[in-house]
Each structure stands twice: as structure tokens, then as C-alpha cells.
Assembly symmetry: C2
Homo-oligomer: 178 residues x 2
């Protein structure tokens, strides 16, 4: 089973998901300087994670239907997050509190292995992302992400994909057509 599905099922079986909640377009799930207290599962809609650098927004991750999202720095380490999570369209989600999540993941050996597999997947994702960021050719960056995350191109508005790929919307349009 896909690891996210396995996680979501494990939380469902423990009846630890909260009630469905909603964000309107452009609303924030969390902002820089806040402390993350939950992990979110997206029922419908889409979100982006971004950081601010000298008033410029850099989009670094996306969330969409059937994926999980959280301010991972604060979720893992505690302390304040450096990131913003914003809805890109009307988004329905449910959440599990960090306290409940950690207790569940420590409950038994199977759940410990599940969290370990998730952390390993995060590590691999982030190494891929680092390689993206250091890849100088816009075309190569585009093809790396298209291959790895085709769903992004179906779920996320063009201008945020361009920000994620560190290219202008015009360059992205050109690459999509070629």
C-alpha cells in the first residue's frame, strides 16, 4: 500500500481525525512564526507552502487532494515555523493533533516503522528538491518535476508552479508547449 494511504488508514482506524474543516482561497493554514500543532489531510482543493525572502515569496511545496501537509520544520522540531501554508482554492481538510499523532506513531512497532518510512520519504524528497534548486537549466528543472510529480501540473495554478520551478510564467509556458 502507498505510504500516505497507510498513514491515513492508520489514523482513521484509531478515530483520531478531527471534523472536516474548510479554507477559502488565499486563506492561511499557518504563518511564519507560529507553532505547528497538527498534521493535515486534504480532502479537496490545493495549498502551497512558501517562504518569504526580502518580500519575495518562494513556493517550496504543494498539497492537493489525498495528500498530507504540515509545517514540517515546526512539526518535527517544535519551535516556530519559517513557512506559510496558503490555500490556492477552496480547500477541505481534516487534521490530527501533533500530540495524538506522536502518541499513535509510538504506539507499536508497525506504527514506528510507518513514521520511519515517511521520514525516509521526506529525506529523499528533499534531496530531489535540493538537486532541482541547483539545476541551472530551466528545461531540466521542468522535466525533473514533471516526471516526479505529474499531479502538480493538473492541480496547481501555472504561476505557482513557475515560482516552485524558479522561472518566469512565460518560460514555463514555452516549456509546456515544446
Amino acid at each position: 500500500m502507498d505510504i500516505i494511504k497507510e498513514l491515513v488508514t492508520t489514523i482513521s482506524e484509531a478515530s483520531l481525525w478531527g471534523d472536516p474543516m474548510c479554507l477559502e482561497r488565499n486563506e492561511y493554514l499557518i504563518s511564519e512564526g507560529n507553532i505547528e500543532t497538527a498534521l493535515y489531510f486534504i480532502n479537496s482543493g490545493s495549498l502551497r507552502i512558501f517562504m518569504l525572502d526580502e518580500n519575495e515569496e518562494h513556493t517550496i511545496r504543494f498539497g492537493y487532494k489525498d495528500s498530507i501537509i504540515t509545517a514540517l520544520d515546526s512539526f518535527v522540531k517544535g519551535g516556530k515555523t519559517s513557512f506559510y501554508i496558503q490555500a490556492l482554492k477552496k480547500t477541505s481538510y481534516k487534521s490530527i493533533s501533533k500530540i495524538d499523532f506522536n502518541a499513535l506513531m509510538n504506539k507499536n512497532s508497525r506504527n514506528k516503522d510507518l513514521w520511519k518510512k515517511l521520514l525516509e520519504a521526506f529525506v529523499i524528497q528533499q534531496m530531489e528538491r535540493e538537486t532541482d534548486l541547483l539545476t541551472s537549466s530551466p528545461e531540466a528543472r521542468y522535466h525533473r518535476v514533471l516526471k516526479r510529480s505529474p499531479q502538480v501540473f493538473q492541480e496547481i495554478p501555472h504561476k505557482y508552479i513557475a515560482s516552485y520551478l524558479r522561472m518566469s510564467p512565460e518560460t514555463l509556458s514555452r516549456l509546456k508547449k515544446s
Copy 2:
């Protein structure tokens, strides 16, 4: 206890470290396209991890005395690594095979927690690194890394720190003096 020390001690107590080995300056521990089979502890010396992008080398990590190093993508996921690990000076190290390491980390609950803590530390490190890469001011990048990893500035030759910080050696010199 520091998590790296705890890991090194756990491996020592299980007598799973191999004999000390040596790399001469510029020699490679592993190259792109190879499969990582071990985790390394550095007794003395220093190394860098880099990737190639259109014949340009991007330095992405360092290893030095009392730290661990491995081609983490291949170590975690299997398959071929995208990275090179090269000695920057004569380097003495010892290693544990990936097979032995995984068996040890799965041996009991304490060791599982140790690997989990390490993975969490990797995730946080990589988020810090992503923020570094997206920080446009060279001065801000320099101060972030100086604060986070002061040892780098004692152990690693100037030109590789400049590569890691994505600035020219001249810019780094100017920042160090200011």
C-alpha cells in the same frame, strides 16, 4: 547525549565498525552512479559531497572529524547515488555496512528511536539548506551557515565553503572580513 555520539557508541558496542581506512586528498569515497553500501565515521580529515550540473560542481555537504557521512539518497532508497563524496585532505575513517546498520537499527525499540531521531535531524537540516538556497542575499546566507555550522569555517577550505554558499571566493572573503 549528542545523537551522532549516541549512534557511534551504539555501533561500537555492537562491534560493527570496520578497520580504520584512509583516503588521500582528492580521492573519492563514492561517485555518481554507484550504489552506497556503507555509512562512514570520520576520525580525522574532511570531505565534501557535491553534485555535477552541466560540468559545474555544486558542493552540498561537508564531513569532518567526529561526523558521519554517506551518499544518503542511495543509502536510504537503494539505487544509484546522484552525488560524489571526495576527500579535501588526507582523511581517516571507519565504516559500517548498510546491511549491518539496518539490522542494528531494527534490533530494538531504543535503536529504532535513534534512527528516527537521526532521520528527523536530516529532515530539519535539509529544510535549513533549502532556505539557504532560496535566500538571495549572500550576506544572509553566510550568517545563516556561520551560526548553524561554525565548525565548517574551521575545517573546510575557503573555496569549497564559497561553492556551498553559492558565492565567489572573493565575496566570501569580503564577508568574513566585515
